[in-house]
Symmetry: C2
Subunit: 394 residues, 2 copies
């Protein structure tokens, strides 16, 4: 009676959401203060105070049409502001015509895939991956080709990727700082990837877009700099949201930036604007476009997250967990002490500890901790991690 595909997918619901709902049950049973829920990447710091100020000023000044339609690509002056902020951050000159305002990065990725994919064309996705990617690609007739990252560094493996590029490869999807590993891809590896892609584009006479999902770009620590995808890859499309950088995930505000050097960049922008309209997004929410016009250069303080990473990383490694120390985002992705990560995560629930199995990211044998939780919650969770370590590491 309904879409068979959707009904089938319902059965394999997202592990992240499932774990969040399991946590909800535990919270009701034991009280929220006794449950350590590291399942959902829902940033807890409030947005920078300038966001609130901008909101109040915009609403109080009664600007006519504040909540009205604007061109499908967004307000030209807001696109210009975002382009200016990006030009500084990337060291690449962007104009408003290279920027399209979107309903977050999730909306942006759907708009991109609708605009570039023909039926059966392939998108290379690196595992572990954010599970929604596979749905986004499938929505628009594409085929996900899963390629694991290097398990020692969680960085892409250019040689392995090269071997999986075919004449049907339309895009490589990357995400750095990465969800779920927190790892920031190095300039060295990205440059190697750029060489691989150029070589393959030439060999097959195709265009391979590098689609870079960057919502965590401003959340980096230890002085690490996120290399500019727009600089490194010719046919690049950056997809971003203010969900994490400004703690506005519910508001669905983000953008697509097309590299000015991309082949047919103007036609690509037109296609993206058309897809943004006809997928039913119509335009990015108007009030928050205006807010972004005034706050695009801001970010919550990454030090908030760094403190938590250090706390958790130090504790976990002290307890004998094996974990790469990541330089960005708000995730840790330790190895599961049990081969069966789902079983391990179930066991952790005995201690009111809510984790997400690596299987939910196409990467069994690991688990994810989303540490967008108050330092107190993290400290209170230590006893539970200790008990877990006693049971499984010894």
């Amino acid at each position: 009676m309904l879409s068979e595909k959707v009904v089938n997918n319902l059965k394999k619901a997202s592990f992240i959401r499932t774990m969040f709902e399991e946590g909800e049950k535990l919270r009701q049973k034991y009280g929220p203060e006794n449950v350590f829920d590291f399942s959902l990447g829902n940033p807890d710091p409030e947005p920078p105070v300038d966001v609130k100020k901008a909101l109040l000023r915009l609403i109080e000044e009664d600007r006519p049409g504040l909540h009205g339609y604007m061109p499908n690509a967004g307000y030209a002056d807001v696109r210009q502001k975002v382009a200016e902020a990006l030009s500084v951050e990337h060291g690449v000159k962007l104009g408003y015509e290279n920027v399209i305002m979107t309903a977050g990065a999730g909306g942006a990725l759907n708009v991109v895939f609708k605009s570039i994919l023909n039926p059966g064309e392939e998108v290379i996705v690196l595992s572990p991956y954010f599970v929604e990617y596979l749905f986004y690609i499938d929505n628009h007739g594409g085929k996900s080709v899963i390629v694991p990252v290097n398990r020692d560094t969680f960085e892409p493996d250019p040689e392995l990727i090269e071997s999986r590029i075919t004449p049907a490869t339309k895009a490589l999807l990357i995400n750095s700082p990465n969800n779920p590993t927190g790892v920031v891809y190095s300039e060295k590896v990205l440059m190697e990837l750029a060489d691989v892609i150029k070589k393959k584009e030439k060999e097959y006479g195709t265009t391979i877009f590098v689609v870079s999902d960057e919502p965590y770009r401003k959340l980096v620590y230890d002085g690490v700099k996120v290399p500019s995808i727009l600089k490194i890859f010719e046919n690049s499309i950056v997809v971003d949201s203010y969900s994490k950088s400004l703690s506005l995930p519910g508001e669905r505000i983000g953008y697509i930036a097309v590299s000015p050097s991309a082949r047919d960049a103007a036609l690509l922008a037109d296609a993206l604007i058309f897809s943004n309209r006809t997928l039913g997004f119509v335009n990015a929410p108007s009030l928050f476009q205006r807010v972004i016009g005034e706050t695009a250069y801001l970010s919550v303080d990454p030090a908030i997250y760094k403190e938590r990473r250090d706390l958790l990383y130090n504790k976990l490694t002290e307890l004998g967990f094996s974990c790469i120390k990541p330089s960005g985002a708000f995730y840790l992705f330790p190895r599961s002490p049990l081969e069966d990560d789902v079983e391990f995560v179930r066991a952790a629930m005995k201690y009111n500890l809510i984790l997400v199995p690596g299987s939910g990211f196409g990467c069994p044998g690991y688990f994810r901790i989303a540490y967008c939780k108050d330092v107190k919650v993290i400290e209170n969770s230590f006893a539970a991690f200790e008990a877990l370590a006693r049971e499984f590491i010894g």
Copy 2:
């Protein structure tokens, strides 16, 4: 290099947007006060003052997580408020579980079609139609089957619709008050349609959803009442936005309401929530969900639009234009004095009058006037309409 389908569709861009852009050129040349742009359905009354009050209160009270994630279906208490308002308006008892908050009606329709359509299944669309419908259906592998309405009344023709229902028919899409005609479908015709659908469901052993797009439901005049689709059709899905009723089109806030009597209503709701998530909407914008929680029962004053309808309708008929007097929305859809409506609309531009040809709605031989314009603009446009009438009606 890009999606061939998207690139081909770019060439046949929306007439509405095209005319709006032509108007922009004229505004730059002659000054905005000298151009009478009736192209875009962008409501000009500001939202009710309670919307502004709710916004300011919500922002000032610093509620934690005001801009954060919530369940993909929306805040449960907001869904409950919307369900209560709908229960009163429709005379059908709805619970929060029957309501899913969406990014406007455009987003909602995409979510619905993704959830119900299998490849090649058919959706009956009544012409004249809002052109985006065809894209929305195509996005999810569906096939639009265009059936004209009765040209004397602009109401659906149950017999003609019956003849076009096949075993592959998954939905009938209706829109009342209608864009572009402004006509409100009568209870009598809808009841006849319900009989037709029941009969065909039985004959083919299928489920045929009635998907009702109702953003203009609160904008009706002359004491007309919009019949409740949820009451009349068993397998009904109402799709609505606050774009017109609260003048918030840019904010992308609306909902889907599933009839509690629909077959497998709970599974359908789950499928809709899944599609809302995986199409990249994730959730309806959070701040405006909260606003709707407090203002769902409100509306801009329909009298504002009634005054304009009367002014324009009286003037046009006085000038000899042939036009049905509609009871809702903010559109008039008169017959084009020239057989070629595109040529007529081009000619109107000589008088700085921006109209949209019926061809843009799959209905050549007519033109649309969107009268969401100040009374002064309407009055100032009369001389242009007079000149147009002199040229083409005589």
